[in-house]
């Protein structure tokens, strides 16, 4: 699921919230720390529900957490 054009600013947002740990974020959104790590590293794209939960934790709009840029098409 990496390389799908979705990037995020979770690492920066955690840093700005007093260096919130991955574990603390994971507990607040109801996933494992490893899943937060995978999301942060763009290895896993979360569901819309988890994406909104992350945005809610940081109290920012969704687009300030996740960005989408067109991934290179494999069909070309």
């Amino acid at each position: 699921m990496s390389g799908n054009g979705i990037t995020n600013h979770i690492r920066r947002l955690r840093f700005e919230r007093g260096e919130m740990t991955q574990q603390a974020l994971a507990e607040r959104i109801g996933v494992t720390r490893q899943t937060v790590n995978a999301i942060e590293a763009n290895k896993y794209s979360p569901s819309l529900e988890i994406a909104f939960r992350i945005a809610n934790v940081f109290a920012v709009p969704l687009e300030q957490v996740f960005q989408y840029g067109e991934a290179p098409s494999k069909n070309k």
Binding site: G30, T32, Q34, T35, A38, K43, Y44, I50
Partner: protein, 156 residues
């Protein structure tokens, strides 16, 4: 490493070791017999005229118990070290990994289950056919846990 990844490793390694031993023993007995038919220490079963190999039935039963005990004990040890994670339900990524691993596992299971039919054409009896089907199930389960481990290592 998450609790469920450790659990997948436990299942993979115990399955590989325990029933790997069984299939090595079974293959050795086939090679020693020189053909795909059971010969020594055979007992007749009343149902459907099936012939079963008493020694391997005992070994199989023993290994099933060994597998269950090993998996349960090792999972308890891992769970004690991370109780909160062990009690929590699977999250969406873990559910996705479990689902994605089923696909190659089913392919392996179905392929080897079909191939096991060839045993009948090679002169094998019901006992060998049963073991061939069990071998397909074993490979399918190994693929399932192996794919889970691969996906956990990769991230998703």
């Amino acid at each position: 490493m998450s609790f469920r990844e450790k659990s997948a490793w436990i299942s993979f390694i115990t399955l590989l070791v325990v029933f790997g031993f069984y299939f090595v023993s079974f293959s050795a007995s086939l090679v020693a017999g020189g053909r795909l038919e059971t010969t020594p220490s055979v007992v007749s079963a009343a149902t459907a005229g099936m012939v079963v190999h008493a020694g391997f039935i005992s070994l199989f039963s023993l290994l099933v118990v060994a597998l269950i005990v090993s998996v349960v004990v090792l999972n308890i040890i891992v769970a004690v070290r991370s109780p909160a994670e062990a009690k929590s339900p699977q999250d969406e990524r873990e559910r996705l990994i479990a689902l994605k691993a089923k696909r190659p596992a089913y392919f392996v299971l179905a392929t080897f289950a079909w191939l096991s039919i060839a045993v009948l054409f090679l002169g094998g009896g019901a006992w060998v056919l049963a073991n061939a089907v069990f071998f397909a199930i074993w490979l399918g389960e190994l693929t399932n846990y192996g794919a889970q481990i691969y996906l956990y290592r990769r991230g998703a």
